[in-house]
């Protein structure tokens, strides 16, 4: 399944930012609009790496679909950064 939301939490010493839920699924709109350019990029990549274009597409699709579940949390005494992909 492709990622739908990203949760972003940032706390700085001066300010406590509210946790942001970013709707990644909305990125499908620009991706569809830019699909000819993306396809062209895949074709170029396939030619450079001498690989089947469908293999290139499958690899990038695999990476995209395996992103959900990624969680990065870094905190110090004063600041905190949280990134979660759902």
């Amino acid at each position: 399944m492709t990622p739908n939301f990203a949760v972003l939490g940032i706390d700085t010493p001066g300010f406590h930012w509210p946790r942001l839920w970013l709707p990644i699924f909305l990125l499908w709109v620009p991706v569809i609009l830019l699909s000819p350019i993306i396809l062209l990029a895949f074709v170029v990549l396939a030619l450079v790496t001498q690989t089947n274009i469908w293999r290139v597409v499958a690899i990038f699709w695999g990476i995209l679909c395996s992103l959900p579940g990624t969680h990065v949390h870094v905190s110090t005494q004063d600041a905190r950064v949280l990134v979660r992909i759902l």
């Binding site: 969680h71 005494q77 004063d78």
Partner: protein
């Protein structure tokens, strides 16, 4: 009632397993449920007492570093969870490296103390490598007043 527990009791009622085996299986189910977050369940007892390995879903990296390591005030903690599926996909991405670049990469890796020949690594080897990561556990504790801790494990 839990579905797994019901199946075990049905197997016991049908005479497929003994009472001891049923007890072990139910105990294993209980262990699986009570395994705390951050600990890799590893393996559970299956039918006939055989060990059934549970498949890890995430690679976890936990770092607790003190001031002497980071230069920041207070303790710094890093908690990273990467899906194993993402590692597999990333490994497949490595197969897109052009053959012409292999020699340069090999030289660069050798210079940094990693004597690796990329051309000899096949996709199936990389898959195997990721599979074996599931058995990986790294624990590093600082000594002599250094409270830094690093844990790498699969869960």
């Amino acid at each position: 009632m839990n579905e797994n527990r019901r199946q075990i009791l049905e197997m016991l009622a049908a005479g497929n397993i003994s009472a001891d085996q049923a007890e072990r299986l139910i105990a294993a189910l209980g262990t699986e449920r009570t395994t705390p977050v951050g600990e890799y369940a590893g393996s559970t007892a299956g039918p006939n007492g055989a060990t059934v390995k549970t498949r890890a879903k995430y690679l976890r990296v936990l770092v607790e570093a003190d001031e002497s390591m980071t230069g920041n005030k207070g303790q710094t903690t890093v908690n990273v969870r990467v899906p194993m599926q993402l590692l597999r996909a990333g490994v497949r991405l490595a197969s897109l490296i052009p053959a012409q670049a292999h020699q340069q990469l090999d030289d660069a890796l050798s210079r940094h103390g990693v004597p690796l020949t990329l051309s000899q690594i096949k996709p199936e080897n990389l898959e195997e490598l990721v599979d074996h990561l599931e058995d990986l556990t790294v624990d590093v504790n600082g000594s002599e007043g250094n409270k830094t801790k690093v844990r790498v494990f699969c869960e």
